[in-house]
Symmetry: C2
Subunit: 199 residues, 2 copies
Amino acid sequence: MKKPATTQAPIHELIANRWSGRAYDAGKPVTQTQIISLLEAARWAPSCYGDQPWRFIVWNKNADAKAWQQALDCLVSGNQAWAKDAPVLVLVAADSLFGHNQQPNRWAQYDTGAAAENLCLQAEAIGLMAHQMGGFNPDLARETFNIPSQFTLMAFITVGHPADIATVTGEALTRETAARTRKPLAELFFTESWGKPIV
Amino acid sequence: MKKPATTQAPIHELIANRWSGRAYDAGKPVTQTQIISLLEAARWAPSCYGDQPWRFIVWNKNADAKAWQQALDCLVSGNQAWAKDAPVLVLVAADSLFGHNQQPNRWAQYDTGAAAENLCLQAEAIGLMAHQMGGFNPDLARETFNIPSQFTLMAFITVGHPADIATVTGEALTRETAARTRKPLAELFFTESWGKPIV
């Protein structure tokens, strides 16, 4: 289901069409090549000093259902309710220290957000749908998967094929077909000085 | 100049071709429609609770050269040396507090990184080149442009038309034509548990 962004100037269809749906087709697996394609997109994001501070763990239900279930268990219940239909789960972490000198990297989370966005856009490019979530238990994830404290856990991402909208009903249908919205340009984007709207 | 990413699985050309060059065509302005297109791409990035924590200030040399110069002065000298040829400068800030409850937003920088990446990809989509920099003086930028302390200053971005590579010489040419590199997939991307390489 396409829900392109409404914009005052044209934007690339990849960016316009990416959106965070929740209705997945549980029966349609994601291939290993598709997973590598998603990760390559993340890999080529820019980063401060070329540090590439992002780390991703990927769980593919069709490769290791037990590990995938452990990942699903880290989500808050409201997210588990729909994420259970996504065959791929991804955990995104940011290295708090620069690799070249082990000093704090104040761009680690910023750069990691860029890498995750590239993954989501690449999903759109190959007919998949990605949805990022902040609603998970970072302590449980860290303990379950033995993640060093140096890495900040930022988000889980669901990946899978979007469900055929004709098969979606009830509340899920309402949610899935709701209009996408954003704040007006003038609230977020300024020109010349702070608070002076660009349009 | 195209320098597409080398990947083990195909990725969308927009993501493959985006790169952070430094050689700009100082004589070719960026239009207001192009600027709005860049900001619309940023605007439609995803964010936690839909907070849209990013704020951007845009300086267009061809609209207000004095304000643009004030922005350029915030960069470290090594960046000023080449950023002076970029007709558009952008400052990216992250709101440290959620809009709905004024509590700390731990995803603010992560989400802001996604919005900035969308801007850079949209630049590529319309034949422009964007380059993010962490090398600037945040105290000077905050004072010059009166930016509230609630907002963390993350990056400056140069935007403009790439220079015709035939006009670039010396060290700049070496830098501009150098191969793009990234760490191997196996170092950053794991499967099932921390540290287990995906490939």
